[in-house]
């Protein structure tokens, strides 16, 4: 009655300077296809530059690509921001670019930020430094994402750095978020016993893959009526039988 949809909502492309050059749309989609992943969130650091190529190629696969950005707030908190369509993610990108410091990336130290087409042909290189904090707060980013009807999920909350827990100590009550993500560095069992105070939020866990090999981590599964962004939102809210499950 419900479709079981394995999901990985946090995958980087070769636009992220820290990601491998092999993270081009065709490789990512073929890997997801092999793994049986049905929902793929594309979240590069502070940019959605390769999302369009991902969406274009995804039409040839039975995979729902979710346009996203992993925003780094002024507090150095990483936030997955996911949307139904490209226009929404590009609007967030504009908001983020307006708040990035005017520093240029140095590929020698940080790595290349490749903009590519579906097959990985290089279209250009993003020269803004993407792996840095924007000047907006967690609360401001959350408000913007919700204004654009998106989903906001604090990333890898179990990590000491670049996580809402590491940077801010705890999740403020008045912050509106749709779920929390834990990393593959901790087992679901250990997460549930070490972070009991966070279990009232819907949980996901993602690969945060920067290479194809890392995509093998696959433990989140959505139960949906059909493969769509709206259904994912319903599952995160536990509406009408839709669910999100974490496999051990």
């Amino acid at each position: 009655m419900y479709l079981e949809c394995p999901a990985d909502l946090h995958v980087h492309t070769c636009l992220s300077p820290c990601a491998s050059d092999e993270m081009i749309p065709i490789n990512i989609l073929n890997m997801a296809d092999l793994l049986g992943t049905k929902i793929l969130g594309i979240c590069d650091h502070n940019s959605a530059g390769n999302v369009e190529a991902m969406l274009k190629l995804a039409q040839d696969y039975d995979i729902l690509v979710i346009p996203g950005i992993e925003v780094q707030s002024v507090e150095e908190v990483h936030l997955l921001c996911l949307f139904e369509n490209i226009d929404q993610v590009l609007e967030l990108q504009e908001y983020v670019y307006g708040a990035l410091p005017s520093i240029k990336n140095n590929p020698q130290y940080f790595g290349h930020q490749w903009l590519v087409d579906e097959r990985g042909n290089i279209l250009g290189e993003e020269d803004r430094m993407l792996v840095t904090s924007i000047s907006l707060t967690v609360d401001e980013v959350a408000a913007k994402v919700h204004e654009l009807q998106g989903i906001i999920i604090p990333a890898h909350v179990d990590r000491k750095h670049f996580s809402i827990i590491g940077q801010l100590g705890f999740i403020p009550d008045n912050l509106s978020i749709d779920a929390i993500e834990f990393s593959r560095a901790i087992s679901p069992e250990d997460f549930k016993s070490n972070f009991k105070h966070l279990l009232n939020y819907p949980l996901i866990t993602s690969s945060d893959a920067h290479s194809l090999q890392e995509m093998v981590y696959q433990k989140t599964c959505f139960l949906l009526k059909e493969l769509s962004f709206k259904e994912i939102l319903m599952a995160l809210r536990g509406l009408e039988g839709r669910k999100v499950l974490i496999r051990d």
């Binding site: 507090e75 707060t137 609360d139 750095h161 590491g166 801010l168 100590g169 705890f170 403020p172």
Partner: protein, 112 residues
Amino acid sequence: MKLSEVQNRLGLKLVTKITNLDRDVAGGYASDLLSWVMAHAKENDIWITIQSHQNIVAVASLLNLAAIIVAEGANIDDSTIQKAEQENIPIYSSDKSIYELCGILYNLLPGE
């Protein structure tokens, strides 16, 4: 040393209005990772940070810190200031760097 004296010697600007300044400062602590501060700062420390999210107030309140100094002219949200006034946690602003503030403070406070 009294908080008001630390304020004068460091040239700090008080941004909260209705907080109690009549308290002693036992030591100083500097970090921007709130989870780390929660685990390591001590009661009656004055805490120097560039983090200005409202959660700094909760951390200071939890540990009973003497006050917070938001260094390097970092912007402080109104929501943070309001929360600090509710919780009676003085917040200061300074244009000095964390390094400078720590240096001056270290020489002001008697060693343990």
